[in-house]
């Protein structure tokens, strides 16, 4: 199968209904789904891709990323709006660019908590987490490099991710002045 850009655009037309179903399963707003598919088409036309190994999976991946970006973009916009509201109400909250002492303290605390979490993992689990999450090594390559089975690598990663997920949840739940305010603001 031709996997150049033209090939991918053609494949996108063929896969239109499958991708539409997928995006709806991902809880995409039905009123926006057509526009997002159009964005996908435009995106394919504007990027250079090398040869793509698995073009159908590639398009699913692109659609999924687009949904993430779309949702995060909205979230950021919401945060900006909240910030604007807040600074109108209390101009003294508007700070110079750069983290405040309080934000720096929070960041330091976060780093310490993350370091503790990593230190509590089995060494092998931490190594695999680093290779996968930071060095971008694929699970398959990790399995080859460390002479493990793929399912062993999956298990290490699942465990590491679980630890980090729960830590993130804890960190996010820690009451912080700004966090509380922006939550309130979003109710207006």
């Amino acid at each position: 199968m031709s996997t150049g850009e033209t090939g991918l655009r053609q494949l996108l037309s063929e896969m239109r209904s499958e991708l539409l179903r997928f995006m709806l399963a991902r809880q995409c707003d039905p009123a926006e789904v057509e526009d997002l598919l159009q964005d996908l088409y435009v995106k394919l036309a504007s990027i250079r891709t090398g040869p793509v190994n698995n073009p159908r999976a590639y398009l699913y991946q692109m659609a999924n990323n687009l949904l993430h970006d779309h949702r995060r973009g909205r979230r950021r916009q919401q945060e900006r709006d909240d910030h604007w509201t807040r600074s109108r109400i209390g101009p003294d909250l508007e700070k110079d660019a750069g983290p405040s002492p309080e934000e720096r303290a929070i960041a330091r605390d976060e780093l310490q908590r993350v370091n503790e979490a990593i230190a509590s993992m089995p060494v092998r689990t931490a190594q695999i987490l680093k290779m996968y999450r930071l060095d971008g090594v694929s699970q398959k390559a990790i399995a080859n490099t460390l002479d493990l089975s793929l399912s062993a690598v999956e298990k290490h990663l699942q465990r590491a991710y679980r630890t980090l997920q729960f830590l993130r949840e804890e960190l996010d739940d820690t009451p912080q002045l700004l966090q509380t305010e922006s939550d309130d603001a979003s109710h207006y």
Binding site: P51, N53, R133, S138, Q158, L164
Partner: protein, 328 residues
Amino acid sequence: MPAITDRAMVEQAIAWHLRLKDADENAWIEFAEWLDADPAHNVAYETVTDRDADMSTVLEKATFPFGVDHQPQAEFSNDDDSRAYDVGDEGPSRNRWRWGALAASIVVAVLFGLQMFPGWDSTYPIETAVGETRTVSLADGSEIRLNGSTRIVLDKSDARLVEIARGEARFTVEHDELDPFTVIAGEQRLVDIGTVFNVVRTDQQFRVGVAEGAVRFEGMARTVELRAGDSLAADNRGRIEISQRPITAIGSWADGVLVYDQAPLEQVADDLSRSIGVSLELPRRMRSNKFSGVIQTDGEREAVRARLEELIGKKIVADGTRWSVETR
């Protein structure tokens, strides 16, 4: 962020998040089915991806246990059930002891190797033992297959730059003319023009063979463009020699085949040490003898020895992993 109380659902969402990074079409379809089963699934999945994304900055600064190659805990790692099929395979660890002397010489090489990128914190090495091969996938989709006794240094901040410190590797590179893939070997550089190529670096020599596409060799004295089928050998003094080889023979060690056409026997000994971990001792006068033939390395060592005897017409005495050609 919504609180998710169903832990099983969180576990599933994590598993999907991990699996989708390198998923085939079927996985995506299964994922959609999972999402359809319960609207809360999508919420769980998005929460997991958001929390993961929110960890990126702090993870970049986090402290990880050093070293990728320390494998002492391999014997009691947690992959019990999944490795059940190779229980009792004590080959690798036993061999590690036997090759202690070789390992010691590798350590020396490593110490020198580290100085190649002084103070570059973003670099990290990947190394193979003799007789061991590994595949490294890079973020850009390129792939490096390492032969035994090989050390490369990758750069976390630049996935398109690789240093080969020692040994042999076959590169399958995603071409990008705006950001060419570069392999550094001492003062010499290879810049891909799109492509599959094989690289060998020893103390005396640097060799490259192009199996597909083209590569630009930037040596100490000259720059040469190599096309598929071209092989180049450069010595320490910057002298280079270019020859033609069948494309299928280039990097064919990765498929367990060594192909020679008028190669010095010394090189054969070198390749065998990397691929199957034997050291072949050659009488001085035989070292530069020209050798032609095909050796299969993916079977028993004994078969390799017999084949080699046949090809060079001499008897080879094996003492463990030390082989020597009988001189009579």
